[in-house]
């Protein structure tokens, strides 16, 4: 697998092919992250393009030798937050009163995902639907720590918050998901959510 650091170095040197390789390497996972945060696949696609456009225009800010992936994810996070706020302001202007947080309505299936075998699709769909009912910060915390394989520390950096705050968000999000997805397990089988996050990350 190509080294993102090396690709960034070539890209800064003017190699457009390096950018395409970087896109091919990073975009699918980042699209998965954005898809689980946003209202629709189309919105996630749009955010992905906006994110890479920002990365392209900020490429001179990259420090040689640094791992670019957390920076990319932070830009994606910032792009998502800015777009969510913009949409909320637009809804407020048109509605004329306070609007509660807009939950994501995650679409499940996509035509271009039929080429690979999938895990239990019904369970996955249930998880997506439950995620869509979470507040944005909790949803993002669960997505990063339990679905994207990030440690709590990595997730905190991406979201621009502290480790403590990320733990709280992930814990509350996980507890809310458990309530949404059905009965709790017997108490002797309960794992602490932050340990679960670390286990998933490993």
């Amino acid at each position: 697998m190509a080294d993102p650091r090396e690709l960034m170095q070539r890209y800064q040197a003017g190699d457009a092919e390096a950018f395409r390789e970087l896109y091919a390497l990073v975009a699918p996972k980042m699209l998965g992250y954005l898809s689980k945060l946003t209202k629709s696949r189309a919105a996630a696609d749009d955010l992905l393009q906006q994110t890479f456009l920002k990365i392209h225009r900020a490429r001179a800010a990259y420090v040689l030798g640094a791992d670019p992936l957390p920076w990319f994810y932070s830009i994606a996070h910032r792009t998502f937050i800015d777009e969510a706020r913009r949409l909320q302001r637009a809804v407020v202007r048109s509605a004329g009163d306070d609007v509660p947080e807009v939950p994501a309505g995650i679409t499940g299936e996509s035509a271009d995902r039929t080429d690979e075998p999938r895990a239990d699709p019904e369970l996955a769909k249930a998880a997506l639907e439950a995620l869509s009912g979470l507040p944005t910060q909790q949803r993002e915390a669960v997505v990063l720590t339990k679905l994207e394989g990030k440690s709590v520390a990595e997730a905190a950096v991406i979201a621009g918050t502290t480790v403590g705050a990320m733990k709280v968000r992930a814990h509350r999000g996980y507890e809310a998901l458990r309530r949404l997805l059905g009965r709790k397990p017997p108490t002797d089988q309960v794992e602490k959510p932050d340990n679960k996050a670390e286990r998933v990350a490993r």
Partner: protein, 232 residues
């Protein structure tokens, strides 16, 4: 394993979606791709420090050193001046230079430095303020008459804040307010250094509240205004 765990595991096991092709806008920009120099944080730190100190030197040459300078304890002049310089240097370093191998700014160190400089210079100024025969004393009743120092300090703070914002454009998508506050605190310390060498008002309220207050106000203003420039 709970229903939630099974569902999340099933979702995590889903293959990532296929990414769409690059947008026409991106393709157009890639067609004209030019090489860019990578960001060099230490070089930027050096440029900012030299430019800022040169600016202070020019201002002092234009406005002159304080008239009571020869009457004040040399240890205090050097010690307080060093403290202002250290505050400027550390805050700028933490704002501009990430850890090796990382793009993430040192936001925790930036917060701590901002807090310490904001509090320390007010407290020290209120309590340690030697004077000489040519010193002026306004005290609390005439505190507001010393507002010129506040504006001079804030004007001096502009140089590191503006340069720092330019250097950090696009580099700080998160934690930008804390980094901006550190740049403001750095600028405020630079302003404090200038005032330390120029202003002969020697009472505690003026040195603590006005000179020290420059750090607080510069940090606050930078935190409010700079992120719009650094977040792209």
């Amino acid at each position: 394993m709970s229903d939630a765990d099974r569902s999340l595991d099933a979702l995590a096991a889903e293959p990532p979606p296929l990414a769409p092709p690059l947008s026409a806008l991106l393709e157009g920009e890639l067609a004209n791709l030019k090489a860019v120099a990578p960001r060099r944080p230490l070089r930027q730190l050096g440029i900012l420090a030299i430019a800022s100190l040169a600016y202070v030197g020019l201002l002092l040459a234009f406005m002159s050193l304080r008239a009571d300078l020869g009457e004040l304890p040399r240890a205090w002049i050097i010690g307080a001046g060093s403290a202002w310089f250290l505050g400027f240097g550390l805050a700028t370093y933490f704002a501009l230079v990430p850890r090796a191998g990382s793009m993430t700014p040192r936001w925790r160190a930036a917060i701590v430095t901002t807090a310490i400089t904001s509090i320390a210079f007010i407290v020290l100024g209120l309590n340690v303020h030697p004077d000489g025969a040519n010193s002026l004393h306004y005290g609390m009743p005439r505190l507001i008459h010393g507002h010129g120092c506040l504006w001079l300090g804030l004007a001096t703070a502009l140089v590191p804040v503006v340069l720092g914002a330019i250097f950090l454009r696009g580099a700080v998508p998160v934690y930008s307010r804390w980094i901006a506050a550190a740049l403001g605190a750095a600028g405020g310390c630079l302003g404090g250094l200038l005032l330390h060498m120029h202003c002969r008002i020697a009472d505690g309220p003026h040195i603590g509240i006005i000179h020290g207050g420059v750090v607080v106000i510069a940090a606050g203003l930078a935190a409010l205004l700079v992120p719009r420039a650094t977040n792209r």
